[in-house]
Symmetry: C2
Subunit: 205 residues, 2 copies
DNA sequence: ATCAGTCCGGACCGATCGGTCCATTGTTGG
DNA sequence: CCAACAATGGACCGATCGGTCCGGACTGAT
């Protein structure tokens, strides 16, 4: 007797929201436009997501999950070589800014658009960045970096800078130097097992 | 016979706009609120600035001028030592994120909030970042870096990453490693004879 | 075929957006 | 002291914001 909700609705909304929010910014896109683009009615959207803030948070969380999934795939071939994986994280980020449809890092953009620390979308974004930091630190520890925290944070700077510069000055600007910079920083903190003492010559302090 | 406009009005509006836009983001603040905070009427604001976009652009341009002024002061003591000046630029940025009332880099935030390349505020922001890149390159050239373009762009990554991380994870996060990372990259690109002086102790090595 | 019961498109709501305009105020030259 | 006129504060405008709600459409059990 009861009519059943159409399946896949939530994902369809999220896909549309990702496109619109990502391209023009979440604040610049109204809920009306999201509704029109999906072809659904407002009541459906507000059944799936309690508010716009909720939709923004869901969008960010979805991208968080996708990002880790893709990154795990990119890192898998170098399992057991954490130093190489550290560099691969940067290469992965650098490749992503070259892709068509890159309009800046969603996590950084969302933080810029929603300054209130209590905003659920911002919280998701910050949580993602914090997790990235932790993953880099774990890799740096596994790679026996002389100072794993320092190396992880320096690579965070490179990655964030890569995204920020790609979004403003384009992917052919400073963003193009990300992996080269990362290599220098990694070499500085990790001694190749077969080349002991190499970092000593550089490290004159 | 004719009544004369009150002087200093424009600067007063700009100061108020800078506070509100900087703290909560330009998109989150309405013109009505700017008007109320200044204590003036809307007609005055719209006589000085033709539109909100115009006000945003004027705000960014003002901050652009202030930034170069302050940076020139910070760099002046090291005139003739471009390698030291390169590091000083990063130190200057790192100090600025520690200041109370830091809510992220205005230039990156504005780019994130206004994605349309034609937006005057975004254009001002991009112009500022491009000029920063050029200044770094000029310093790198003067310091006889082995690859001045590469060094300048890598420092751009560090500075951008510093701002992005300070805005999201706080000034005690990865942002704290900016000068240390910059030192490594500078050392890597500048021959010992021209290297940064060692008078200051290093955070990590 | 019937009808109860759920779903959903879109009309609608008050609030707020950026921007305009006018009645009032205040100043200044004669 | 007054008349003339620019500067001003804030009422007001249409558009759009996020969010609610209802009447018709559709489903599935009988």
């Amino acid at each position: 007797m009861t009519r059943r909700p159409a399946p896949g609705t939530r994902q369809r909304i999220l896909k549309t929201a990702a496109r619109l929010f990502g391209e023009r910014g979440a604040r610049a896109v109204g809920m009306q436009e999201v509704v029109e683009e999906t072809g659904l009615g407002k009541s459906v959207l507000y059944r799936e997501f309690s508010s716009k803030d909720d939709l923004v948070a869901a969008w960010v969380r979805e991208l968080d999950a996708e990002t880790w999934s893709h990154m795990d795939q990119a890192l898998a071939p170098y399992e057991g070589d954490p130093a190489r994986q550290l560099l691969k994280v940067v290469e992965f980020a650098q490749a992503s800014v070259q892709a068509p449809g890159f309009y800046g890092c969603t996590f950084y953009n969302t933080s810029a658009e929603f300054r209130d620390p209590a905003h659920p979308g911002r919280q998701e974004a910050v949580a993602h960045l914090d997790q990235l930091r932790r993953r880099l630190r774990d890799l740096a520890l596994a790679a026996r970096a002389t100072d794993a925290d320092a190396l992880a944070d320096m690579l965070m700077l490179i990655i964030s800078g890569l995204y920020a510069n790609a979004a403003t000055l384009g992917s052919s600007g400073p963003a193009g130097r990300a992996t080269a910079a990362a290599r220098i920083l990694i070499d500085q903190h990790i001694a190749p097992a077969h080349q002991v003492g190499r970092e000593r010559e550089r490290d004159s302090c």
